[in-house]
């Protein structure tokens, strides 16, 4: 089972791309402002700071999220959660339901606007003790939480 990664994985909700773009556009804004201030000081020939910074800004805030999106995927089995992410730094994590200590569903302000949520599971392991899965619709995240909780309870009984 689970030999090939791509076909059987569920992709994240496409709205995640927009939400991440907005979040990183806001989060990286201080760097652009800083570059603008440096540019205003005219220490170097005009455009030598603001142009590369703006290019990097556009790349990180608008192109990277859609690339990341293509490499995210998850799948839940009857007894495990599998999360795959990253191309340059590929990570393929499996968490058995029976090892999950507690489950969080988080929703930030931008997430709420797009009805998204992040599901985070916590295990006792030192490595990967928290595994997060962003970009689920809020209803899906809650449903997954219930599914995992039911599986844990069945395990205990």
């Amino acid at each position: 089972m689970t030999e090939e990664s791509a076909p059987e994985l569920t992709p994240l909700n496409p709205a995640w791309v927009t939400a991440t773009r907005i979040a990183s556009a806001i989060g990286l804004l201080p760097f652009v402002i800083g570059a603008g201030v440096l540019e205003g000081a005219r220490l170097l020939p005009p455009g030598s700071i603001i142009v590369p910074v703006m290019l990097l800004y556009v790349f990180v805030a608008f192109i990277v999220p859609s690339r990341k999106y293509r490499h995210w995927g998850y799948t839940t089995g009857p007894d495990r959660l599998r999360i795959v992410r990253g191309y340059m730094f590929y990570r393929d994590t499996v968490v058995p339901f029976g090892r999950i200590q507690h489950i969080d569903v988080d929703q930030g302000p931008i997430d709420r606007r797009y009805d998204l949520a992040t599901l985070t599971v916590h295990t006792a392991g030192n490595h990967n003790s928290t595994v997060a899965l962003p970009g689920l619709t809020h209803a899906d995240a809650l449903a997954m939480r219930e599914q995992i909780r039911a599986a844990i309870r069945a395990d205990v009984i």
């Binding site: 340059m88 990570r91 295990t123 030192n126 395990d155």
Partner: protein, 537 residues
């Protein structure tokens, strides 16, 4: 708690009649029930106040100095004495107030500790969360028959709860009660635990063994400590310690000049150097022996009904218990020299922290493999079967570091040639650095190996500090396949296993092998009921 010995049978009587039980402890008004919020409990031993005061004196050194020199200008020497006395008095007074306001209560479901003079702190530690109860006896406490009880809760955040100090009988009683409550048993087995004291230990070290261990623990840390002290207190010395010309002047006054030293023959210099080296080695060995003796004297590991009980220490006695079902993995360590004589150390990985320096529980610090395997077996961890073949990683994985360093050195070479006008012959010497380090990567590759069998994972690595980690597959929490950009090009991957209290990493695996191992381990993991492995049988 000033009452003397309390028999362990008490644990059950409190179970049945909580109020009567508490009264037999000398607590006057224990009519609190869960509703009132205020917990009546036991006080710490009053003698502990004195021990705490004396051991806390070093912290008062600077205030006392300040008071002493601050009042030096006054005519009356009595004022100086009063100032110093006031500091000591207030230190003792605040400790006493703190002692008055400190209560602990061993309840039905938890241990509760109330403390604080102005801001009160009430802590509840549920029995299920207590990983370990350890008793520590520092020298002074030992003389007074006191012990410090520590409840280890595993969680990394915050300090563990401590009771410093209670009488030794009370410490033993607390441990028995906690152990009994945790497992939900009553006193029958607590007595059983006492009987086991007569059983032979499963591992112990005699004086000779500790001494040999000390010889292997060569340490020059004493010079660091002396240097640190000299630097801290050099203002007290009448001369400047670090002024070399002062020392030369001092020698010249006694008729020894630098020329004299230069004039002495080569043989004499060699003898001097050998003498210096010899004394350095001697001091290093002596430090190692003394430090090891202090820590490991009388090392004794017992197998009790619940787990492992370890007692050791010369001046500071420690007594720690590791429940065997909490052992998540075993680490067997050795070094290149001690390995020749067959000496290894066995440590258990768990959520609890053993000591400040060592996060894993040291079950046998210096033992032969023949002694180690039975201990590991007692924790349900087996030796690798002779039929198991350890898989080697691909050498190229380790050489990545070498190639990266060569690339960095070439960049540095070009930079020095361009900016510092260094000739090529000079700059190219930088390439010797990666070449000199090359054997280390090769050794790392040689020493790495991983294996899996039907129930366990094995990873061995390190050429200087060699270690073999053995983890039962059912204790694995998460499994991750990871690939960085270079590993991806090589078609290699790493497997990270999340283990409670530690980590296990298999590296330089072909991606397909990594997937196969993961799937096989996952089948084991999901098949086991989590609650079953976390509770004692």
């Amino acid at each position: 708690m000033t009452a003397s010995h309390v028999p362990p049978e008490f644990a059950s009587s409190e179970d049945e009649r909580p109020v009567a039980g508490a009264q037999s402890h000398g607590v006057s008004s224990s009519h609190d029930t869960n509703g009132s919020g205020h917990v009546e409990g036991h006080r710490l031993d009053i003698k502990g106040l004195f021990v705490g005061f004396v051991t806390g004196l070093p912290q008062l050194v600077f205030p006392i100095f300040a008071a002493f020199f601050g009042t030096r200008g006054t005519d009356n020497p009595l004022i100086q004495l009063i100032a110093v006395g006031a500091i000591l008095f207030f230190s003792f007074f605040f400790r006493w107030i703190g002692w008055l306001r400190f209560r602990y209560h061993v309840g039905e479901h938890d241990v509760r500790i109330e403390s604080g003079v102005l801001s009160r702190n009430a802590r509840s530690i549920p029995y299920e969360r207590i990983q370990d109860v350890s008793i520590e006896q520092k020298p002074l406490a030992r003389i007074m028959g006191l012990g410090e009880v520590k409840f280890e809760t595993g969680g990394g955040e915050g300090e563990d709860a401590k009771l410093s100090f209670v009488s030794l009988e009370e410490a033993d009683r607390l441990r028995e009660v906690v152990r009994a409550r945790k497992a939900g048993w009553v006193e029958a087995e607590a007595i059983d635990g006492n009987d086991q004291a007569d059983m032979p230990p499963i591992f112990a070290m005699d004086g000779n063994r500790v001494f040999t261990f000390g010889l292997y623990s060569f340490s020059l840390v004493i010079f660091a400590i002396l240097g640190g002290i000299a630097q801290q207190f050099d203002f007290l010395l009448p001369y400047d310690l670090w002024d070399i010309s002062h020392w030369i002047g001092l020698a010249e006054k006694r008729g020894v000049s630098v020329d004299d030293l230069n004039g002495i023959g080569w043989t004499a210099r060699l003898i001097l150097a050998a003498g210096a080296l010899g004394s350095l080695i001697f001091i290093g060995l002596l430090t190692g022996v003394i430090r090891t003796m202090l820590r490991e004297h009388g090392f004794r590991l017992d197998r009790t009904a619940k787990g492992f009980r370890r007692r050791r220490g010369l001046l500071t006695l420690t007594d720690a218990v590791m429940p065997s079902h909490r052992v998540q993995a075993a680490v067997i360590q050795t070094g290149p020299i001690r390995k020749r004589r067959g000496w290894h150390a066995l440590k258990f990985v768990s959520l609890a922290q053993d000591s400040k320096e060592e996060s894993n529980f040291v079950a046998a610090p210096f033992a032969t493999l023949a002694e180690i395997w039975p201990i590991a077996n007692a924790a349900a961890i087996g030796a690798p079967d002779s039929s198991i073949r350890f898989r080697k990683g691909r050498l190229i994985w380790w050489l990545n570091g070498f190639f990266a360093l060569v690339a960095a050195m070439i960049v540095a070479m070009i930079a020095t040639m361009v900016f510092a006008d260094a000739p090529l012959s000079m700059a190219s010497r930088m390439l010797f650095v990666p070449l000199l380090l090359l054997p280390i990567w090769w050794l790392e590759w040689r020493c790495y190996g991983d294996a899996t069998d039907a129930s366990q994972l094995y990873v061995r690595n390190g050429w200087w500090r060699q270690s073999l980690i053995i983890a039962p597959q059912i204790k694995v929490q998460t499994i991750e396949i990871a690939q960085g950009p270079i590993a991806r090009m090589l078609g290699l991957a790493s497997l990270h296993f999340g283990i409670a209290g530690g980590r296990l990493e298999m590296v330089a695996l072909p991606l397909e092998t990594a997937r196969k191992i993961r799937n096989a381990v996952m089948e084991k993991v999901v098949a086991v009921d989590y609650s079953a492995i976390n509770r004692s049988p």
